[in-house]
Subunit: 135 residues, 2 copies
DNA sequence: CGCTCATATTCGCCAAGGCGAATATAACAC
DNA sequence: GTGTTATATTCGCCTTGGCGAATATGAGCG
């Protein structure tokens, strides 16, 4: 593999990672599949801003989206290229230790498990792993 | 370490990596210390362009410079942060397999070992590891 | 001092991309 | 069809940063 040209465009990947909002999004997605409305709620950013950055990540090939009725779920799209994949894993391990990123994840869990979630999230499909962990 | 704030600015690092010329520079430096004139010769880009990108890398903290008379030598500045360092290693391993990067390194070796190098490089200090390997 | 060489910086110009505000689309309910 | 909800896109505006061209700095030589 990868003899014909770029297995994965390095420059494009790094451009995708070169923005704090996008890093926060990748961090929130984690190994799961997360609905857009949670990003908006947890990051406290405007919905168009979130959508724009998700579109950028999608164009860069690092996330994939799945529609479920009105909701869009985003998940990490692990690069096929082995080096890209390992690098990506390093990035996520790094994110896991950053202070703000940690707080973001905590807020996501809190919002998902809330007995009475914010109005905007009533009926929103929760990330699988968190919903499960709720018990 | 790293409890007070950012151990190493991730965003800044990725911005530094998000340019092909800068990736080519990092690749050429490798584990060595390389004089600016070689970058200009090997990459075939203008000297101001090379200098500007080196300055960018320096500001991002990923390379360091040392003056030796008229010449400036650049080397990789491995980040103190463990995650950043491992990520950096991944990047360099990835670079090592890219086609253009490989050709760049071959050109560097060729230029360094040439019996009669280009006029601009007469007397230029060669990268240590290559000069040594020349035998 | 002036001259030359190696490198760095500045100056316009232009494209990429970040932002908020507004608008468009897509799916569902009625 | 209308209306509502979730998400996406477009539109100006502004900043970042890439480029070539020109200029500045810094070190050595005579």
């Amino acid at each position: 593999m990868g003899k014909t040209g770029k297995a994965f465009d390095m420059e494009r990947l790094f451009k995708a990672l070169a923005d704090r909002t996008r890093l926060r999004l990748l961090n929130l997605i984690g190994g799961d599949e997360v609905c857009v409305c949670f990003f908006v709620e947890v990051l406290g950013e405007s919905q168009p801003k979130i959508s724009r950055h998700l579109a950028y990540l999608r164009r860069a090939g690092v996330v994939a989206a799945r529609r479920e009725g009105k909701w869009m779920h985003y998940r990490i799209s692990v690069p096929a290229d082995a080096h890209a994949a390992r690098l990506f894993a390093e990035v996520r391990a790094w994110l896991a230790e950053d202070g703000e990123m940690r707080r973001d994840r905590e807020r996501l869990v809190k919002v998902c498990c809330a007995v009475s979630p914010p109005v905007q999230l009533q009926g929103a499909p929760r990330p699988a792993s968190i919903a499960t962990a709720r018990g």
